[in-house]
Each structure stands twice: as C-alpha cells, then as structure tokens.
Symmetry: C2
Amino acid sequence: MRAMLKRRRAPKKTSARPGKERILDSAEELFARHGFYGVSVRDITEAANVDVALVNYHFGSKRELFAAVFQRRAEMLNPERLARLDEVRRAALPGVPTLEDIINSFTYPLLERSARGGPGWKSYFALVAQVNNSPEWGPVLMTQYFDPLVERLIAALREALPDCPIREIYWGYQFLTGALTITFAETGRIDKLSGGLCKSSDLDSVHERLPPYIAAGFRAICGVRSTLVEEQASLKHLNPTRSRNRSKKTE
Amino acid sequence: MRAMLKRRRAPKKTSARPGKERILDSAEELFARHGFYGVSVRDITEAANVDVALVNYHFGSKRELFAAVFQRRAEMLNPERLARLDEVRRAALPGVPTLEDIINSFTYPLLERSARGGPGWKSYFALVAQVNNSPEWGPVLMTQYFDPLVERLIAALREALPDCPIREIYWGYQFLTGALTITFAETGRIDKLSGGLCKSSDLDSVHERLPPYIAAGFRAICGVRSTLVEEQASLKHLNPTRSRNRSKKTE
DNA sequence: GTAAATATTCAACGACCGTTGAGGAATAGT
DNA sequence: ACTATTCCTCAACGGTCGTTGAATATTTAC
C-alpha cells in the first residue's frame, strides 16, 4: 500500500453514490487491511475518486473518519443482535435458553453478514478484529459501541449458569471474543496449516462449531471453579511433573 | 506517540547494552503498542538513545527490524515449548496425555513468560497478538516462526482424539489461538466490563482456565462431528425459530 | 603499535504526511 | 431570478517519513 500509487489528479467521475459514503467505503476496506497508520488519507481519497480535502470537510480529521467507519455498521448491527437475544430468551420461557442459543444469538448476526453481507461487511469485521486486539483503539471504540450489548449477553449467560461464579463468565466471554475475533481476521493461516482442509473464509463452518465449542468451555470452567474441594484432584492435569495449588503458581 | 517528542540530539550515553540490542528492545515495546506504521524509526532510535541511521546500518530497513524483533524471542521460545510437549507425551506412556496437558504445554511457556519474564516479554506477546490477527503480517511471520511447532501440537491432539475428524482439530486450534491471542493483547476491556472483578493482566487466572476451557471445546466439536446421525437432533440449538441442516445455512 | 574491521555520528535527500483556506460548482429555498 | 447553503476542487503549508553516504569513533586482530 502506502508505496507508489499514481499521484495525479483523479477524473471528475460523477458517481451515483455521494462522496461521503464513498470515502467511508474506501476507508473501511483500507483500514481493515493495513490499520489506521498504514493508510494515508490520500490512499483513501484516491480509491474513492474524490479530492483529498473532502476527508477533513466531511469528517474533520483522519481519526474522526476512522471512528465514523467503526460507528456506521455498529449501529446497524446491535439492534438486531439485541432482538435475537430477546427472542431466544422469550422462546425458552418459562425456562432459560441453552448456552448454545445464547452464544449463537451473539455470533450469528456477525458471521452471517461477514459471509453473505457483501464485501463491505467483510472488511468491517476485519477492522473490528483489529480494533478489538489493539491496546490503542480497543478500550475506546469497542467499549463505546459494543459493551452495552455485551452486558446483556453476560446477564443472559448468568441466567443460564445460575451456579457459576461471575468471574468465570467474564473469563469465558474473553475467550469467546478472542475466538470470534481471529475468525474475522481471515489471515488464511489455518488454510496453510491444514493443507487446504479448512478455509478461514468458511464462516459457515465457524457458525456450526463455535457455539458448541464455547458453550462446552463455559461449562468446564464453571464446574471447575464452583467445586473447590474436587479441584485439587481434577486439576492434576496442569503440569504432570509438579504439584499445583490454587493460591500461587509454582511451576 | 508519533506526536511531539524532543527532536534534538540524544546525549552520548555509553550504556552497557550495545546499540543493536537497545534498538530491538525499544522497537519491541513501541511496535507492540502502536503497530508497525504507528511508530517511526526516529521514535525507536530516540527511545534507545542511538542515532537514526543505526537502524538501517544494523537491520537494513524498518521492515527488517520488525522481523528481527519478532524472530528474536520466537527462537528462545519454541525449543522449550517443544521440550514440554515431548515431556508430557513421555510422562503419559504407554498411553497418551490428556487434552489439558497437551494444551497446557503449548500455552504455559507463553503465559508464564508474559506474567513473570519481564517487560520485554510482555511487550513481545502483545506484538505477537497483533501480528497473529494481521492479514498483512500474520501469514508471513506466524507461519515462518510458529507453524512448525503448531504442527507438532496438532499431531499430539490427534493422538489424544483418535476418533476426531482432522478438520475439527484444526478448527479447535483456530479458536484456541484466538483466545490466547486476545489474552496477550491485554486491552483492559474485561477489567471495565467486569467492574474490576477480572483483570486482563492476570495471566495466572488465564493459565488456570484456558486449558480446561479449550479442552472441553475440542471434545464438544469432535463429538458433534463424528456422529452425523445424531447431529440433526442435537444441533437444534443453532436457531430455535428455524430448522437448520448441514449442507447450507438457511437462517 | 598499527592496521583492519566494526560501530556510530552527522547532515541531508526527496517523498509523503495531515490539514487548510480560498474559491468554484451544484443544489435548494424563496 | 436571486440567494443561501452544501458539496467539492485546487494549490499549498510546514512537518515528518525512511533512507543514505561520507566522515568519525571505537573495538578487534596481529
């Protein structure tokens, strides 16, 4: 990227889509691929066939453009995810939904759009994956746009795991978001590793496997933590050559 | 970062540690925090108290410096992880080790060093987390320096799950690496979400929970996939309002 | 002690960076 | 028709970017 692109003026090009939207589209794709600092505003405006100055006119600054890209689809996304969660809970009344259903209501709207929502959505989730793992942007943007929904997810998980200590649910969520995040990055690493047997772009396969995988993980750590007495016996696994106790790691 | 730093000459400063190492140390920390494009070579050389030109003298280019940072600790790391895996397998003879032991031999050397190996190691793993989720760097660096070890891990997992289809093991590894990756990013998001109940810097907690969590996930998807007939019945979870079949998602 | 090799400094290069202000074109309101 | 508003173009600003070649200092080899 940032290397050599033709530096001369773009043609007039009267596209139907207004310039502001075209900037958002180009920025989405480029930011997703190279990160905030890996893309210049000139890269973006040339890809969008608009003048450089338009970024500052419409968004104020490059940073505000980045935030706008992040915000745009987040706001389309979260109402549906919330509705799905509510629907799953309603359908399970008077009981509570399964862990798998809860997790699926959280992940499915993302996987579905990334798989079949068009290239913009695919780029967007790759961008979210990047932001989620960034100490610079994650605490700002993820917290602002996604945490309200996550709190609802946590509440539903607590309903479904009434005997599970709350800390375990947060840790379980942390691992869930990590697994989901690397899915969206689609680095193609699993393709190479598996010799083509698995494709990181095959989000249908993720959709089939992620909910049961994560649900089983939740049940495992909740069970372990809630019964402290059997813990010493059942956790001999951690390092077979040394003993392990709860207070402080000795390995 | 990249903003305003004092632009004037650094003092002579005859540190004991040679300039090449100091550059690697500073680059490690800065790249981990802001990414490759978010850091200038001047940021690095000023933090290391050396001249700008030294980067190109010692490493050739900024990109090669980045690769050198990535390589340095990978080479210290992988022999130990390999030895741990072998030890776990040997200790289980004539049987095979548990899933938890196998996973732990993979994750423990990382978590232990990130927790107590010094600030350099902490930065390094944050950098690895970033690279692992980057479509630009991941396929190059992760593949080159970590895939040989991962292939050994996969082989051990196959031994421990003899009836599990190979594809499921690769997917299970993908989720494992995602959960591990977000742990190293230490964005502090779980701290806020949990109101201080969990700390993303508390890698001992991760060490206790990740192996049983991931092992349970492996067992869940292997079981699901290996018994196709019961699948239709057991997977009603995915969307309670619509039917779901294996060939193509209809949701 | 002297020469060779290695390490570091200094000043500067051309290219690209994000942002700006003045002004032109298109559009909407009346 | 005129005006006000919005959208967009153009040229340029000061600053920072990665990299370089020549000169100097330090260490190593003999």
